[in-house]
Symmetry: none
């Protein structure tokens, strides 16, 4: 099956890995196929088991295969069209999703990922128009580095938006354009880690901040969060000097941090010289009443680092976001980052600035809010229709996802995700939101951004069948 060259300078495991990779990419080894056991393949190829084991581990890390406990290694479903490495690639089709999820099975028809938008929502004609304008006007400036803090016209547009819509008080000098949460939070961590080495992070919470903060040498302490917001007493007991919170719309539980907790948090910061990192990732999407004003706006002179993004409303693929630094951290920012070059594409920064300055950002938010509200309501109706009183929705009324709690559900999370995958449903594991994983039984994270209302209904009906043990045919 495989041919290894013992005289090649390439290690045997690398030769074997390359051949398996090629077969997976070319489809000769299809998704779901079981690979030979380590023992069998080693015997067949007359190599050590270590060699085969190394190959399988590498392919696992790369996402080509995955291990199932006591069953062996299986070819993963690659989420992209992938002709052999030398052939010219076509662009991905609309159903492709990057980053092969472990455990992905057959093609995904219904995607409950919590951070995907409507595939038709991107304002392509306007984007095209402004991008071409900026390319024409800025062509000479492409020969040099842009502003290291981000293009001034974009920072100005963000400032006006934050002032008008989020109650954030700041000047453009306090705004740093970033290429997404990982970038902003990495800088924030760098700014505080020497003086504030321990950070309390909402648990459950978004998984990315924990990774970023740990990768940037902060000690991450999980702090419980509930309908009342982060447990401030637990935060104090933890000895943290930084708190990472999502006050407008807690991820994943969906609660709004009550003003009482906000004030306690601000007092904690003020009294101890501590720092708050406010991640205001999707506050524009609020379906009842007005968006919740920012925490930063309650105490603009405090040590609050405010993070916002264009990923949840405009596009996660642009990689454009921003950070508002408190004045107290500006000197340190300029000291640590004075050599850093621009954070993101000059042309796309300018395109976005122009899009905002012409009023399209505000219009786009309104349109997205209306569209997402329909999907949100469709999901609530579908849960009601198909789960009845067997499930309860937590954190409704905002954002791109809700949490479903199914008391007494017998299925474990991994098995549930597997069965859903077989039915063409992609579920994002709730356990990923828990520091250390585990304890997610009966909790489902249901993102509704990428599906149309009818799809949401069909997907929820299928899902209810799986969760409640009534396997129903899809009537699609």
């Amino acid at each position: 099956m495989f041919i290894l060259d013992h005289n090649s300078p390439d290690p045997l495991y690398a030769q074997l890995a390359r051949q398996i990779r090629e077969r997976v990419l070319s489809g000769r080894l299809p998704a779901g196929a079981k690979l030979p056991s380590v023992r069998d393949l080693a015997a067949e190829l007359s190599v050590s088991r270590n060699t085969v084991e190394n190959t399988y581990l590498e392919l696992t890390a790369e996402g080509y295969v995955h291990a199932r406990a006591r069953s062996g290694y299986f070819v993963s479903a690659l989420d992209h069209e992938a002709p052999p490495p030398t052939a010219k690639r076509k662009l991905r089709g609309p159903d492709a999703a990057p980053g092969a999820d472990p455990g992905a099975g057959p093609p995904c028809r219904y995607d409950f990922h919590p951070a995907k938008l409507d595939p038709h929502s991107f304002p392509a004609p306007l984007w095209r128009k402004y991008y071409l304008e900026c390319l024409r006007e800025s062509s000479g400036e492409l020969a040099r580095y842009g502003d290291g803090q981000g293009e001034r016209e974009l920072r100005q547009a963000v400032r006006e938006y934050l002032d008008r819509s989020r109650g954030v008080a700041c000047s453009p000098e306090q705004i740093v354009v970033c290429s997404g949460l990982q970038h902003a939070l990495g800088m924030a961590a760098t700014l505080v880690k020497d003086t504030h080495p321990r950070v309390g992070v909402e648990n459950p919470g978004y998984f990315l901040p924990r990774s970023v903060l740990r990768n940037n040498s902060l000690e991450v302490v999980p702090v419980a969060v509930g309908p009342g917001g982060m447990d401030i007493d637990a935060l104090k007991d933890s000895g943290s000097r930084v708190a990472y919170v999502t006050p407008s719309h807690q991820f994943p539980l969906g609660h709004v941090m009550p003003v009482g907790t906000r004030l306690k948090l601000i007092d904690w910061a003020r009294a101890g010289g501590n720092v708050i990192i406010e991640d205001d990732y999707d506050s524009e999407l609020r379906y009842q009443g007005k968006p919740i004003p920012s925490l930063q706006g309650l105490h603009p002179e405090g040590d609050i680092i405010y993070l916002g993004t264009f990923s949840k409303i405009l596009s996660p693929a642009l990689r454009l976001s921003y950070m508002v630094l408190p004045r107290s951290l500006l000197a340190r920012y300029h000291e640590l980052f004075r050599h850093y070059q621009a954070p993101a594409s000059l042309l796309e920064q300018r395109t976005l600035a122009r899009f905002m300055a012409q009023g399209h950002w505000d219009r786009h938010i309104r349109r997205m809010r209306t569209g997402c509200k329909k999907k949100h309501n469709a999901l609530l109706r579908a849960v009601d229709a198909h789960f009845g009183d067997k499930a309860e929705i937590i954190g409704q009324g905002a954002g791109l996802h809700v949490v479903l709690r199914i008391p007494g559900m017998a299925l474990g999370e991994r098995e549930l995700i597997r069965r859903a995958g077989v039915a063409g449903i992609r579920l994002f594991p709730f356990s990923e939101t828990l520091d250390g994983g585990g304890g997610a039984e009966g909790l489902l994270l249901l993102g509704f951004g990428s599906m149309a209302p009818e799809e949401i209904d069909r997907a929820t009906r299928l899902l209810a069948g799986i969760c409640l043990g009534r396997d129903l045919p899809d009537t699609d």
Copy 2:
């Protein structure tokens, strides 16, 4: 002795160079051996003398051989640092100018910044065409996050380019798309800091790496660098576990790290489980002979993190670069960064991938090389004309800058930059390349990328007047 294939797409001089290189590395051509004369070898191989001359010049630049006046070419001793052709300068002095802002002052007519390109060089029509194609085809995918490691088609295009032009051996799985050096180096630091906490960095050197590595919790130790490359004994003495080097074109001194030093560095890494970070930032721009092959290609299975960028040839404002990880770090990369989202704009990644796949990248490199060579030569001529024997050029023949040494110049750096600014000339302080600043008297960093040849001549004439105390009127 050597076999040349006249039907190969590889130029004859490159074939010959490869065969000599192999014999030197294998010891079949021992240190000290005299190579055949240009005339004899040309006759033996039935090729022009030019071909052999080019081969010898290239091997000289790479450090495999050296010329002795009136004696011919000899194989260099690879296990020793090549003897420096000029005495190493002691770099010290009281007049440090850290933070000198080259942006302040009257309008700049002549900009000697070392990292600026020709303002007319960006291939805007092609960029426009491919961007619009990608926007049309990918519009639905803007609703989700792209591949966290970078778009596969871009990684594939980079792999092919690296294989073809830089001698870097890798698979697309080893490539991570990054948004510039600061991003790549931050990830590299995160990957190694727990096990390899101290990094030796070339001094003088680019200032950004020092900042990035320190901001990412590595201890940065300056290690002297000269015509023979980084001082490997000093590196060993420093207790560093990581070395950051620019072997193809040392920044700022412009030397090529000789192959002897390369092999010593690789031995140091292999023997101690250490890591090399190779920053190959502008190797495409070489004006004599072929680009110097990468260090990574000498030992592809070693622990070498290879960094490359599109900033020096295409545009610094796109913020697109890449990193090639050694296989040994892939598992750790997937562990630490598995939650990270895409590193840069989906559309611009795809635009660039298409630009490369259609052959435009290679054509663009050739065009830039020709254009930059003219500017480079104009600068050499201008220095000769206006400085005469009062100054010496260090590190010519590559990249976007040279270093000018003016022995005994009375002006301190800060005052020189001030006076130049008054005359409309922007100078970048050499002291910024020295860890801790200071000691830059009589050394000027002259970038020539952004000016036309005539401007270079005028600017150099003005500058000579200032440096040599002959204030001349600008005859522009």
